[in-house]
């Protein structure tokens, strides 16, 4: 009885949980056979019910069906576009969808997508209990079974390492300087990533305890035993500058090297042509940089990339800028100039410039004015009564 109730509930929830969100079917489970009945709809009722149901649940069969549909759809799409169905990658799919359903929406996530169901539907835990209603995992009743089982496993590993160390000490082969796990260039999993791994919500305190336990494992001299399992929970840090686009080096008719780049800051766009073998002359929109920027601060902004690259008298700068105010124009020119300088600078310099902040586009723009306020932040006079 209880078992049948459980399965029916489970299947019902999973089958009808999300698909018919629009229609108003509620499964009542207390004590009786579930009854499907239409309930008169009012918005507040609907809202309450949706909140109580929690996140949508999908069955495994449902997911499998979605995967089949996706694969068939992929082949159809490839045939439609005249591509090879066998070697049709996700990038190709994205490209075709963008072509077939052009969208002007600003929010990228709101645009039409066609992705593998694993990416679309969030990972969910399978049913945790069997036919008899008894949970599979021994830690089910803690509420966070994956987290606590993870902590348990790591502690087991710690104990294993300690036992190994004791054995070595008994044989008097214990030495402090064994090979340690290399932690350079990698970082611990972030809390979000751990949650994703465990398919469970954990609190900040839980995450802190997890990191503490890992650090404790690593503090032991013979922790290299458990290297693979530790590395499972670490992520590599990429070198940011490898992603930097460097403008190509071009040569003009006289053979002098030059490069062009564009920079933007706060509605000002600037484009700069940097010529080698010059005398430190700077021309902006046909005018002298002294005439164009009477303010010292703007000229200092222009000077920053050149001074950083120790090439103050080496290049001739030809810039054109429009939009924005004088500070924005100076910032845009600075960014464009820094990008041009990348072409002429050695490898290590690229990383230095990135860390100096020369290559980062300043994301600050004017904040929008909100209704009910005078400006973006300024509020109208507050009257107590």
């Amino acid at each position: 009885m209880a078992a049948s109730r459980g399965t029916v509930v489970g299947s019902l929830l999973l089958r009808y949980g999300n698909k018919f969100a629009g229609s108003h079917i509620v499964a009542t489970t207390v004590g009786r056979q579930p009854v499907r009945r239409q309930i008169c709809t009012s918005c507040c009722l609907l809202r309450k019910n949706l909140a109580a149901a929690g996140p949508e649940k999908f069955t495994e069969e449902f997911i499998k069906k979605q995967v089949e549909e996706f694969n068939i759809g992929k082949r159809h799409l490839a045939n439609m576009m005249g591509e090879d169905p066998e070697n049709f990658t996700q990038e190709d799919i994205d490209r075709c969808i963008r072509y077939l359903f052009p969208s002007g929406l600003f929010e990228k996530k709101a645009r039409p997508i066609m992705k593998h169901p694993d990416e679309v539907f969030p990972r969910q835990t399978a049913i945790q209990w069997g036919q008899d209603g008894r949970p599979f995992h021994f830690l089910f009743f803690t509420g966070k079974q994956s987290y606590y089982s993870l902590m348990h496993d790591i502690y087991e590993k710690t104990l294993a390492v300690e036992r190994h160390q004791d054995r070595l000490r008994n044989k008097s082969l214990f030495t402090q300087d064994t090979k340690q796990i290399s932690l350079v260039g990698s970082r611990w999993l972030r809390k979000e990533e751990l949650e994703e791994l465990l398919v469970e919500d954990i609190s900040d305190y839980d995450y802190a305890r997890f990191i503490q336990l890992m650090e404790r494992l690593l503090s032991m001299p013979y922790s290299a035993l458990e290297e693979e399992s530790v590395q499972h929970y670490r992520r590599q840090l990429e070198v940011q500058s490898s992603k930097q686009e460097i403008p190509p080096l071009q040569h003009d008719q006289q053979g002098a090297a030059f490069s062009t780049a564009v920079g933007r800051r706060k509605t000002a766009t600037a484009s700069v042509v940097l010529r080698d073998g010059g005398s430190g002359k700077v021309t902006i929109n046909g005018k002298d940089h002294l005439q164009f920027f009477p303010v010292l601060q703007d000229r200092e902004q222009l000077m920053f990339p050149l001074h950083f690259a120790d090439s103050l008298g080496r290049f001739d700068v030809e810039g054109s800028v429009s939009g924005g105010g004088h500070s924005a124009q100076a910032g845009a020119l600075r960014l464009a100039l820094a990008r041009c300088l990348l072409t002429f600078s050695p490898e290590g310099k690229v990383e230095h410039m990135r860390q100096a902040g020369l290559l980062t586009a300043d994301p600050r723009v004017k904040e929008r004015k909100k209704p009910g306020q005078a400006k973006a932040r300024k509020k109208f006079t507050w009257k107590k009564r």
Partner: protein
């Protein structure tokens, strides 16, 4: 150490001692002297020159600083030098002017000019802050040392704006007088040209009011005194003075060899043909012609008199209603001004070149004006070049905060 100081101060004595003492110590002295002199002369000669007479300045002295004799500064420039330069003079305790190409060109023109022909007009022009006023002052120093009568209007723009009192002229009802400016200028004019004014005489009788008049044959010094003391009629005095000078330029002067040479120097000459910011009582704008001072000055600047030169410079800095980037004669003088000034000799003034910038930089270091240690390095120098673009004013302003 003490030997070194000794050689620097009493070089002549040491040189004599060199002949008398042939002992070891004498030879040591000799060695030190020989060593000290070239170093000093080398350093001195790069950015300074001992030649303080503008008559002798030549290409050799280009981009070097020469010191203005203090006596000359007091008499010749009671009002002529730029304000920031005056502050610099006070700080450094000396007035050093750089010898630059435009001034040398002007001086060479003045040396070769024929003074029996009508006066030649020279116009210095260039971007803001490139050294037009300083070149003008350099040229005036030359004229002064040659014994010319220097008529220097430090800034014609001061006469077309911010005037507190505008009196209707007694001479002509449609014109307006500016008593304060006129009397102030007359006072400075007197300081500059006292000895010469005492020798020149008026050629006609001037009646100022019912009770005051200046007879024929009185010295111009008295005329000027009249203007300084009687402020109400000072603008008319200025007019009379200019007329007298126009008549007497090129004439021989008693008690002095050679004829009277008149140097009319106007800084900011584009003010004469621009607009004013002065308003009449009925809030209508005053045209420049309606001001006595401007009217008389325009007559002065016309080339219908002989025996002198008119040296002027354009200035956007003090000008009214002119865009910031304007510096060419056509733009600043306007159509009327250009037609009136035509023909003139344009003298372009540009920013510092490499050598001049180096000289200025060394001068500031020598005077301990650049105190930041980084500014004395090669890198700091490059930064200064970039930031100031070798413009003298901007460079001076940047260095002032270092």
């Amino acid at each position: 150490m003490s030997l070194h100081r000794l050689s620097l101060r009493l070089r002549q004595a040491v040189a004599q001692a060199r002949h008398f003492h042939s002992s070891g110590s004498g030879q040591q002295l000799e060695a030190v002297t020989v060593e000290a002199e070239p170093r000093e002369t080398r350093e001195l000669s790069f950015f300074r020159t001992r030649e303080s007479d503008p008559t002798c300045h030549a290409e050799v002295h280009m981009s070097q600083y020469y010191t203005l004799p203090p006596g000359h500064v007091r008499t010749l420039f009671p009002h002529g030098l730029p304000y920031r330069f005056q502050l610099q003079m006070k700080t450094f305790n000396e007035g050093c002017v750089m010898v630059r190409q435009p001034a040398l060109e002007l001086i060479s023109h003045l040396k070769k000019a024929d003074y029996s022909k009508p006066a030649v007009r020279y116009v210095l022009y260039g971007v803001n802050g490139c050294g037009k006023t300083m070149s003008l002052c350099h040229t005036l120093h030359y004229c002064y040392t040659q014994g010319w009568l220097v008529l220097h209007i430090p800034d014609a723009h001061l006469w077309v704006k911010n005037c507190k009192e505008l009196l209707p002229s007694s001479f002509r009802p449609s014109r307006f007088d500016q008593p304060i400016e006129a009397s102030h200028w007359l006072r400075n004019f007197k300081t500059t040209n006292e000895p010469l004014l005492a020798k020149l005489k008026t050629t006609q009788r001037y009646v100022w009011t019912k009770r005051e008049s200046t007879e024929e044959g009185r010295t111009l010094a008295e005329l000027v005194d009249q203007g300084v003391s009687r402020v109400r009629s000072s603008s008319d005095v200025v007019g009379a003075l200019l007329k007298e000078l126009r008549l007497q330029a090129g004439q021989p002067v008693e008690g002095q060899q050679g004829a009277l040479r008149l140097a009319v120097a106007v800084d900011g000459i584009n003010a004469l043909w621009g607009r004013t910011s002065l308003k009449k009582e009925d809030k209508s704008v005053v045209a420049p012609e309606e001001l006595t001072l401007i009217h008389n000055l325009r007559k002065m600047v016309k080339n219908d008199w002989t025996g002198g030169a008119i040296i002027s410079s354009l200035s956007q800095t003090g000008s009214l209603f002119k865009p910031k980037g304007a510096f060419l004669p056509q733009e600043l003088l306007g159509q009327d001004g250009f037609d009136s000034m035509d023909p003139f000799v344009p003298v372009p003034v540009s920013n510092y070149n490499e050598k001049e910038f180096e000289s200025c930089y060394l001068y500031y270091i020598d005077r301990n004006w650049l105190q930041h240690p980084h500014s004395r390095t090669e890198e700091g120098r490059k930064e200064l070049i970039f930031l100031s673009h070798k413009n003298p004013t901007i460079f001076e302003r940047i260095c002032a905060s270092l």
